[in-house]
Symmetry: C2
Subunit: 196 residues, 2 copies
């Protein structure tokens, strides 16, 4: 059972899985060899060999530049800066944004030794200079590091004369005040909006 | 991103994963293509192609009969009957049992249309007749269906003149009485043991 143990240990390293759930996954896969395990292996292998990082925005796709960057229906004067590809996907799922993206690949973090040169900032500035970008939306996370990074980028973009914006803050849709932290509530009160 | 979505949907069918965690797993794997995704694909593929069901006990292994059945150090007169291979693995991890196993592959269930012929019962009786089995431990789950199955098998084994036993019932190690259900507590009281 050495092989089973090896795969179990690998699966246990995935987010959301532990040793016990990884074991259940292996058993589930082995019991469905033809219907699930073999197709999954094929698709994972295909994914591993076909996806590339887009040289423009940093997204994953089958081609570089990616389909989002090549899409002529998207607004090319609008650029949304996100930390990770997962954030780009989340925004795409909401289907509310029709501009271009730029993936930083992380956030500034003294603790983790991540400086400006470790993020895709040179490429961002190059895109801003090369194309007519009218606005950059800094959609980093509302964490301390995410906001530090957003402020740093905003300062650099100001030198290039580009307008930078950030996501609205407040109570999330469906949110109950009783469960919100003080920071969210005070932000929501400060930025309260007129009812029209 | 059709490929990514396809893999995500497949992963979301695994136990313990949902659409959101499956997405996180895909992102985690893609970000670690060389160190995790490709090795995992290789190992899963190897597992899918090398594991077979043991024709004797029903366990998975690289050979049939499996290593447990071939192990001459194990007691061949003792047979432990379990519902699933996962149960066999759980008992093996506890390292307290040194006999042979027999995997039923399920439990009797009128609701799910599982009858005696759908379980590996003929093979069990054949083993009991062919080899000198002195005791069969019925280690099915302590669910209604598991216990029904155990009683059914015990009755069939009685006709063959083989001793059948079951696992002890009571409060699990580390269990707090406050969190135990009434069934467990009443069983534990009834089957109380003398302190020596």
């Amino acid at each position: 059972m050495k092989q089973v143990d090896k795969v179990t240990r690998m699966l246990a390293r995935l987010p959301g899985l532990g040793p016990r759930s990884a074991r259940r996954v292996v058993q589930h896969l082995l019991a469905r060899r033809e219907s699930l395990l073999l197709p999954l292996v094929e698709d994972l292998r295909h994914l591993a060999h076909s996806l590339v990082v887009c040289s423009v925005c940093g997204n994953w796709d089958e081609s570089s530049p990616c389909n989002l960057c090549l899409d002529t229906k998207r607004d090319r004067s609008l650029l949304c800066v996100v930390e990770q590809i997962a954030d780009l996907w989340a925004l795409e799922r909401s289907a509310c944004y029709r501009g271009q993206y730029h993936v930083l690949g992380g956030v500034l973090s003294a603790l983790n030794g991540v400086g400006p040169d470790d993020l895709r900032l040179a490429k961002l500035e190059q895109r801003v200079k090369e194309f007519e970008i009218r606005e950059v939306i800094l959609a980093t996370n509302l964490t301390l590091e995410g906001q530090t990074t957003a402020h740093y980028i905003a300062a650099r973009l100001a030198r290039l004369g580009v307008k930078a914006s950030r996501l609205a803050r407040g109570v999330p849709v469906g949110g109950e005040l009783d469960y919100m932290d003080e920071g969210t509530l005070s932000t929501a009160i400060e930025a309260r909006q007129k009812i029209v």
